[in-house]
């Protein structure tokens, strides 16, 4: 769905996006993770033809961007760096205007389309209040409704859960889940690790303009070759396994072992009570910390 090659954006002497090779496949739930200022938003804007690249190539839905952006955009729904709406108009009028602005979409069904989109994001009951009186969360939902107006094949969402409360975040995640199951590819960027961890199947990590990692989440979460074991008698486990225990923290032990089933059988056979046993996997946080060097908002003294 999205392929970039050597994509670079320079603002004067600052390199905002540096040689990014992005690959989003059809049906993906792609999460672009990176701290604020790492170039995520600039990358998203380039994909949508809002910002023009200094070097490199972009292909979205099989067509070059921005050369044929007009053919691509009708199939994309997007939320870029916070929602935008005319503050003196109501949410419904805002959506109607945005719907009328773009080509396609018959005028006859416009009212229905707007109502459907509002319902999907949980704003079915909004009244004639102008958007200026909306809460941040309501605006975020309205922006999302705008992205969903035309049943897009690809959703590009930049920080979609900004300003939402935990219940709202959950609702939006369920909505995206549903859309993805219906066949929509979802590309979302966030600086919140938990959000990506909870939703995405594929992750890209950006650090100071570079895409430092791009992998399926399942392969990132590969077993580490260790098993965590919980037991009320940890000293017996240590004695039994003799040197294979790498770490002990109260009643939880980390054991070098490939197969939790075999280990469980061994412990039970020896009469040790096992309260919990699981394969240890790498956490996304650990992966990100390994891939990035330093926090982007840290300012070090010049060496």
């Amino acid at each position: 769905m999205i392929i970039t090659h050597d994509l670079t954006k320079r603002y004067g002497r600052t390199v905002a996006v540096d040689s990014v090779e992005l690959e989003v496949r059809e049906g993906d739930r792609y999460g672009l993770l990176g701290p604020n200022g790492s170039g995520k938003t600039t990358l998203v804007r380039m994909l949508l033809g809002l910002v023009f690249a200094t070097r490199g190539e972009i292909e979205v839905l099989g067509r070059p961007v921005p050369k044929r952006i007009q053919e691509v955009l009708p199939s994309i729904g997007a939320l870029v760096e916070g929602p935008g709406a005319y503050p003196h108009l109501s949410g419904r009028v805002n959506l109607t205007l945005f719907d009328a602005a773009g080509a396609g979409g018959r005028r006859k069904d416009r009212r229905q389309r707007v109502s459907d989109a509002l319902e999907r994001v949980g704003l079915a009951g909004i009244d004639r209040r102008p958007v200026r009186n909306y809460s941040l969360g309501m605006r975020q939902r309205l922006g999302l409704a705008g992205a969903l107006l035309r049943q897009p094949q690809l959703l590009i969402l930049d920080e979609p859960t900004n300003g939402l409360d935990p219940r709202g975040i959950r609702e939006i995640r369920d909505l995206l889940d549903e859309l993805n199951r219906e066949g929509t590819t979802v590309f979302l960027s966030s600086h919140l690790l938990a959000e990506i961890d909870a939703f995405c199947t594929r992750v890209g990590v950006m650090d100071r303009g570079r895409l430092v990692l791009q992998e399926d989440l399942s392969s990132l979460r590969a077993p580490t070759g260790r098993v965590t074991v919980g037991s009320p008698t940890p000293e017996r486990v240590v004695a039994l396994l003799d040197g294979r225990v790498e770490h002990r923290d109260g009643e939880v032990l980390t054991v070098r072992h490939d197969d939790p089933g075999a280990l469980n059988a061994e412990l039970v056979a020896a009469g040790v009570t096992v309260t919990a046993i699981a394969t240890e996997r790498r956490t996304l946080e650990q992966v990100v910390l390994d891939a990035t060097t330093t926090s982007s908002d840290r300012v070090e003294a010049a060496g």
Binding site: L7, F52, E57, I58, P64, P66, K67
Partner: protein, 374 residues
Amino acid sequence: MDIGRTVVTAQGLRRWAVVLGLVLVLAAVPVVVNVWPVRAAGVDPADLRSRIAASGIQAHQGYAQSAGLLGLPALPNLTQVTALVSGTTEMRTWYAAPDRWRVDVLGEGTEHGLYQTPEAQFTWDFGDNQLTRIEGAQPVRLPRAADLTPPALARQVLSAAAGDSLTPLDAKRVAGVEAAGMRLTPAGTDTTVAHVDIWADPEHGLPLQVEVTARGGARPVFVTRFLEIRFGAPDAGVLTPPAPRPGIGYSVAEAPDALSALNRGQPAPLPATLAGLPRRDAVAGVSAAGVYGAGLASFVVLALPGRSGGRAFRQITTYGLEVPVPDGNEAAVIETGLLNVLAVRNRNRTFLVAGLVGPDLLRRVATGLAGVTG
């Protein structure tokens, strides 16, 4: 890599180049129009002069503009006259015959119209909402805008300067007409005029542009020219003055005969010669005014009666330079480089002198007038 698929710098530059090209083309239009060569319409000056003299019957309508750089101070009661030679005047003219024409002086949101019909003259002033019918001839009057249209001024200059030399000038495009040019250079040294350049339509002889250059000046100090000209008789309706009706002021005036008023004050008689130049009477039977000199070097002398003379003299001395004269009298001159005005106070009499004549001559005139007795 396929240029323009992703990186759009080249497209941006190409668009700017298109805009820049558009600007250049548009900017070049007036320049090209200006420098487009004029086909030489070589007409012998003497021939052109006779054609101009005969062009009084040529019907035309146009838009003319006169611009003077004379810097004459705005003399009280004479601001309309001083504005004519010190500023820009925009005029529309419709001309059917010498006794049927109309000249409108345009101002921002205002208009002064002058209609000449065989019966009378009419003036219309939008600002005053006033229509005036002027009956009777005006043998002598103050200059007005209608005197400054190229045809009127060119004919006036040529009729005054009978013996001066004419040389051909390069043709020039005036109001879209390729006009033949000639230069009139005054013979004498008394006048302030270095030369007068006239361009006229070679076919009809209608003067289209007149430029007056003063001695010592590189650029003309007075220019009048048509910006638009169309030959052919104007619509009769245009030449018909507005009808008097309720809602606008209307008055009938006898030709304002300033000179007879002057004469009634029984001012001092004018000398028969001044600075060696004989007097030509301007209007028969009026002794208070006289014209001296010949051609462009002629000047007008007015004798003003007591009190109004004193007022006029004070005005001139306020703006002018003092000129030393004998017999305890006073004199002052305002010099603009082209048009010079002199005032002489001889006991309780005042003489006003105006003309396109130099300061040397005026000094001699001042001495002459200061010496008038009786």
